[in-house]
Every structure is written in structure tokens, then in C-alpha cells.
């Protein structure tokens, strides 16, 4: 939902003036078109709270097609080829070797072109690494007299025999600049194996310890009859290019070939103030540019979201179990699980004897072994106080966790509900005078509820980590308002639909949807502003914050 009115940061000073002008535009539009259609109304609704203003929570990104990406790679290659007067294919191999770091490559290449060429596999190593101290191989490979002997026996004089497949009927052979000749079929099988099975774009010469890298045109000629594999090769190259560039990321949705460029999220520091939720052009392909949580985790920044998901993964089930099955020893605070029927507990650790029911010391129980009617005794009250204090942090976590989980669950349920509603709507369209556009209000409402529940979900994770204070209270006020609005709308969605009342229902749902949307924007906008202003303080150490 990018706004039509976009400003660069520099324009901030003239802001109010522009906003006024926009509103004038808006008015003019409406008077010109006296009966705005449903669709136009909804577009307006999107812009409601911050009309004509770029929202702080909206992070700029652009989408690159496969073709754009290839062009970006070519630009880099041409740049390097131009500087050093080398073939683009060579420049390309050098760039891959330097993980597409032009500056580093330029610097090193100026110093020692021969060394770099050998290192990157552009030219054969001057002295084949026969020495025992080849720094790069941490391996157990050893050059042995026998392996050179076997090599000798493999390459007999006379008609060419491929040293790999021993086929002497092969007439077509190929070799890289190192002149290690092999039959075309073996080359094809080797390149295919590298690309298909190993997912590797770098194919070196097949000869032992030869590090020369096959050029792209060599690969192409070898895979001439297998275009899909050559395409896969190009894809591997593109993936490598993207993985080396912090500003780029592939759309994580399956089968999607788009790449997203988001320069704002390229630095780690920026991630303490922005949440780079982007999409690849397809609204449904929404993802976080900076972290592997595929959800839209606004309004909580990546690093804290990560803390939360980690905590939930580690703790939530365990915490629930501890809460319902254990108590703490009133003396040493060890967590105790009751595994027998008797209420007379003896702490394994400190040997303290107490009553499971009232938590008071057992000594006061006299002979009432199996029942406890001493709930109000002073000592047991104190013991339970201590107990509840130690439980408070667990309770606190579960408070936030359960709400977090509940919004997720509810969001799913509302989608299920919609599936049923949709059918009904289609029927109504056939049986009543309603048009297709008029029955779309449910879809819009459900989508909005889903979006808002995602926001709400993460507001609970955020609130868990926010430091107590006015800022947190204001945040929770916004959260409460959104939650209330969302619950109201959700309830409306569950109302029975029939032809008589649909008109009224539609009005109600549409109004509420607009309101909910506004509340969601307020939460997102305020939290995004809060990051920019440094308003949010955490109750736990967070990377990038003091």
C-alpha cells in the first residue's frame, strides 16, 4: 500500500503546506465525481490517518525481475572488464571469487594480477601444487607416486582415450586453457553433476588438483543440449550474486523469481529503528527483509522479535507445564513436582517439610496427615506469598504468550470463517439483486482483521519486553483500542447473513473496517515513530540499544 504522495526526507519542512494541497486535491476530486464507487472509497480509507504522507512504518523497496538482476550483474562485470581491459568472462570469474566485492577485487588485482588470476582459477597455477605445504588444503590429500603413475598409464599415446570413461571411440574432446583433455560426454556429466547435485556454479577442470575454472561459455557449450541445467546454472550465479549483496534478497515465496532491493535495511544499525517488511510487488508475498521470521512482525523490531520467538520455542510449553504441575519449596525455591497422593512434602534439596495444599510447614499439621484445613494460618499465608512472588515472572510471561498465541489462532479461525461466508455471499449474489462488488465487503473486513491480529500478536511480544513507564502505558492504550475494535469487527463477521439485513450489516462492517484500519495505522505509525525518536526502552539487553 504505497502512498501516491511520496516525499524524500528533505521535503519534511514543507510538509504541512503539501498536506493541505493534497487535501484540496482530494476535495476537488470528490466534487468532480459526485458518486465515488466502492473501490475508490476503499482506497481513500487506506490513506485515512496520514493522508498524503509517507508512513514511517512503510519501508522503501524496489523489485527486480530476473532480467533486472542479470543486468545488475552485467554492469558489475563490465565495470571490472573495463578497468582492467580483460574479457567479461574473466571479470565475472574474478568477481565471483571476491564475492562481488568490486573494491576489494580492484585493490588486490592492481597489486598482483598474476596471483589473483591463479587464485581465482582464471589461469593455471604457475607451479602445480606439488609441494606438501599447500596452505589452502586442510586436507588429507597427498600427492603420491602412484597417483602420478596411474595418470601416466591412463593417457596412452595414439588414439585419444578419455582418462575418465576410457572410451576410445570418442572423437569430440574439450579442454580448458590448461589443455587437460576429456571427452565431451564426461564434461557434460561432470558439469551437470556439479550444478544439479551439488548446487555449485563453479566447475573446475576435472584433472586432479587443477584449479582452473570453466568459463560460462564453456559451460554453455557443454550443456548445449540441456537448457534446463544451463538455466539452473544461471540461477545459481544469480543466487550467489544476491547472497553477496546486503541490499538484495530473493522473495522467499516458492516459485517466485523476483528479487527485492531494500537499501534501507542493508546496515545492521538501521534495524534498531526500522522493520523492513517488504513485498516483491505481489501484495501477498510479504516478508521481513532482515530476518528469517517470515511473518510481518511489526511493530516489533527484528532483534527483539527474535528474542521472543526464541523464548517461546524454549519456554512456552515447559512454562505451562511447570505452572500447572509444580510448586516451589517455600524455603529453597526449588521447583517440585508432586508425584504421589500425600500432601506431606519433603523437599529433596533442602529437606524442608511442608504441606502441598497450604504451603505451610508440616510441623503445624499435627496428625491431620491427609487433609489440610489450615489455609489461613499466618505461616502458610506467608509461604504462599513467597510462592506467588516467584511465580509472578512465569505468570507474566504466560500472560503475554497466551495473548500472542490467541491472536494467531484467531487470525487463522477468521480465515476459516471467511471460507464459509464466501460461499454464502456467492449464493446471495445469485438470489438477490446485489452485485459482485457489493458482496466484497466481507473479504475486505476479514483481510483487515487478519492484518490487525498479526499486529496485535506482535504488540504482545513487544509489551513483554517494554520497560515500565508512560511510554509503555501509551503503547498499551493504543493496543487496547485496536484490540477492542478488532474484536468488535470479528463479532460482526460472525453474524448470520440474510437478504433482509445485509444492507445494514454491510454498512456496519464497512464502517468498522475503516475504523479498525485506522487504529492499526495508529499503532504501527506510533511505534515506528517511537523507534525513530528512540522512545522505546527495553527491559532486557537488546543489541544496538544502550
Amino acid at each position: 500500500m504505497s502512498s501516491d504522495y511520496e516525499y524524500s526526507d528533505d521535503d519534511g519542512d514543507y510538509y504541512d503546506e503539501d498536506e493541505l494541497m493534497d487535501q484540496d486535491d482530494q476535495v476537488a476530486n470528490h466534487s468532480a465525481d459526485s458518486a465515488p464507487s466502492e473501490e475508490e472509497m476503499d482506497i481513500d480509507a487506506f490513506d485515512l490517518p496520514t493522508k498524503g504522507k509517507q508512513k514511517s512504518y512503510h519501508i522503501e523497496s524496489t523489485t527486480l525481475s530476473k532480467h533486472d538482476l542479470e543486468r545488475a550483474m552485467d554492469e558489475n562485470i563490465e565495470y571490472i572488464a573495463g578497468i582492467f581491459g580483460i574479457e567479461p568472462e574473466v571479470a565475472s570469474i574474478l568477481l565471483r571469487h571476491f564475492e562481488w566485492n568490486k573494491e576489494k577485487l580492484t585493490e588486490k588485482y592492481v597489486d598482483n594480477p598474476t596471483g589473483i588470476n591463479a587464485e581465482a582459477g582464471v589461469s593455471a597455477k604457475p607451479n602445480p601444487p606439488r609441494s606438501t605445504t599447500s596452505g589452502s588444503s586442510r586436507s588429507t590429500r597427498r600427492t603420491t607416486p602412484a597417483s602420478s603413475r596411474s595418470k601416466k598409464s591412463l593417457s596412452v599415446e595414439g588414439p585419444f582415450v578419455c582418462p575418465i570413461c576410457f572410451d576410445d571411440t570418442q572423437t569430440r574432446t574439450l579442454a580448458l586453457a590448461c589443455s587437460h583433455k576429456f571427452c565431451t560426454e564426461c564434461w557434460t556429466a561432470y558439469a551437470t553433476n556439479k550444478i544439479r547435485s551439488e548446487g555449485e556454479f563453479k566447475t573446475t577442470c576435472m584433472a586432479e588438483e587443477c584449479t582452473l575454472v570453466a568459463t560460462d561459455s564453456f559451460i554453455q557449450s557443454v550443456l548445449a543440449t540441456d537448457l534446463p541445467t544451463f538455466d539452473r546454472f544461471k540461477e545459481l550465479l544469480a543466487r550467489h550474486f544476491v547472497s553477496c549483496n546486503r541490499k538484495l534478497k530473493f522473495c522467499p515465496y516458492p516459485e517466485c523469481a523476483q528479487t527485492v532491493s531494500c537499501p534501507a535495511a542493508a546496515s545492521k544499525f538501521a534495524l534498531t529503528t526500522i522493520i523492513p517488511i517488504v513485498n516483491c510487488g505481489d501484495e501477498k508475498h510479504k516478508f521481513c527483509f532482515a530476518c528469517p521470521i517470515e511473518d510481518d512482525h511489526r511493530p516489533l523490531i527484528c532483534s527483539v522479535s527474535k528474542l521472543w520467538t526464541q523464548k517461546c520455542r524454549d519456554d512456552s510449553e515447559t512454562a505451562n507445564w511447570i505452572k500447572s504441575n509444580t510448586k516451589e519449596c517455600s524455603k529453597c525455591q526449588s521447583t517440585i513436582e508432586k508425584d504421589g497422593g500425600c500432601n506431606h512434602m519433603t523437599c529433596k534439596k533442602c529437606k524442608y517439610e511442608f504441606c502441598w495444599v497450604c504451603m505451610g510447614p508440616w510441623s503445624e499439621h499435627g496428625t491431620a496427615w491427609y487433609s489440610c484445613n489450615r489455609f489461613d494460618e499466618k505461616e502458610s499465608v506467608e509461604a504462599r506469598d513467597a510462592q506467588s512472588k516467584s511465580r509472578a515472572s512465569l505468570e507474566r510471561y504466560l500472560h503475554y504468550y497466551n495473548r500472542w498465541a490467541n491472536h494467531e489462532q484467531s487470525a487463522k479461525l477468521s480465515m476459516d470463517l471467511y471460507a464459509k461466508t464466501e460461499k454464502k455471499m456467492e449464493e446471495m449474489q445469485l438470489t438477490s439483486a446485489l452485485t459482485w462488488i457489493e458482496v466484497q465487503f466481507m473479504k475486505k473486513a476479514v483481510d483487515e482483521v487478519f492484518r490487525c491480529r498479526m499486529t496485535l500478536k506482535w504488540t504482545y511480544a513487544m509489551a513483554y519486553y517494554l520497560q515500565k513507564g508512560n511510554e509503555k502505558e501509551l503503547f498499551e492504550d493504543n493496543q487496547r483500542d485496536l484490540e477492542k475494535a478488532v474484536e468488535d469487527l470479528s463479532e460482526l463477521l460472525e453474524q448470520p447473513i440474510d437478504t433482509e439485513t445485509i444492507g445494514a450489516l454491510r454498512q456496519k462492517v464497512t464502517d468498522k473496517t475503516v475504523y479498525v484500519q485506522k487504529r492499526n495505522e495508529i499503532v504501527l505509525e506510533d511505534s515506528a515513530q517511537g523507534y525513530l525518536e528512540g522512545r522505546w526502552k527495553w527491559n532486557t539487553p537488546v543489541e544496538g540499544f544502550d
Binding site: S137, R138, S139, T140, R141, R142, T144, A146, S147, S150, K151, S153, L154, P163, I164, C165, F166, D167, F182, E185, C186, A189, Y190, N193, S197, E198, E200, M206, A207, E208, E209, C210
Partner: protein, 155 residues
């Protein structure tokens, strides 16, 4: 490649029958799926007078990709204790991996590499991560994910 695979193994087998390096002996090569060799380290070494059984398994990607090679560990055979050999017989050697394998390498070349790997061993100890690796390792060493076999290379 199936034809090339058979032709290649046939050729290698013919060479093996003509003679193998000292300390390396063919035990069984009845099929083109599995070959067995005994490996002995000649001269003075940590493994003096010990014989190990080495198993090669080939799929039809051989020799384009490396064979699966491991020491046999059963009631009568043990894997050598070596920083690059896990107690289940799996071997960590670069020539058996994607990066280090070259299709011109042969079964005998692999045997020699492993023989010299044993010969040059100065201290008999298992890989650092042996206890972590062995319970999680698949039966076939070629199916190991790279991340699992890591510490011997650093050791």
C-alpha cells in the same frame, strides 16, 4: 553414464588384477557396486602389523562424483584410531568430498591416499567430535551433510 561407469570400473579392475601397490590387496570385487580391500601400513608406524578392511561403494555417478569409502567395522574388523577416522569407519578426507574429488582419481589412488594418511599419523586419537558425529551419521558416508563433519579438518 551407466556404460561409462561399467567400462571405467572394468578398466580399473584389470589394472588392479595386474598388480596393486604394497600393502593394498583386493578382497572382493564381484559386483560393480561394492569392492573390498585390505590396507596395511608398511614400515614403522602407529599401525604396524595391523590390517584394516576398506569398503568402496559405487553408484552410477562414479567416476563423476566420488565413491562412498569407509572402513568396515564389524565383529572381526575395527576402524583405525585416527584423527580423521570416526569409530564407525567413516573417513574425513578431502578427496572423498565434493571439492577434492577429481574424476581422474581411481580406486587405487584413494587407497594410497588413505594408506599414507594412516602412515603419517603421529598420534592415535579419534576425531574431536567423534561422540557427536557417530550417533547422528547416516550409514552411507556420502550422505553426510557437510556441517556434521567439521572438526577433524580443523584439528
Amino acid at each position: 553414464m551407466a556404460l561409462a561407469h561399467t567400462r571405467r570400473l572394468n578398466k580399473e579392475l584389470a589394472e588392479i588384477h595386474a598388480g596393486t601397490p604394497v600393502g593394498i590387496n583386493l578382497v572382493n570385487a564381484d559386483t560393480f557396486e561394492k569392492w573390498l580391500f585390505t590396507i596395511e601400513v608398511m614400515g614403522t608406524s602407529e599401525y604396524e602389523a595391523k590390517k584394516f578392511l576398506l569398503m568402496f561403494r559405487f553408484d552410477n555417478t562414479y567416476p563423476i562424483s566420488a565413491p562412498a569409502v569407509q572402513f568396515v567395522v564389524d565383529d572381526t574388523h575395527k576402524a583405525p584410531v585416527h584423527p580423521h577416522v570416526y569409530s564407525n569407519g567413516h573417513i574425513c578426507a578431502s578427496i572423498l568430498g565434493r571439492e577434492g574429488w577429481s574424476p581422474v582419481l581411481t580406486v587405487i589412488a584413494v587407497c594410497i591416499t588413505i594408506q599414507s594418511m594412516l602412515a603419517s599419523c603421529k598420534k592415535k586419537e579419534p576425531p574431536l567430535d567423534n561422540d557427536r558425529y557417530v550417533p547422528r551419521a547416516p550409514e552411507n558416508p556420502k550422505k553426510v551433510s557437510i556441517s556434521l563433519m567439521v572438526s577433524p579438518l580443523l584439528a
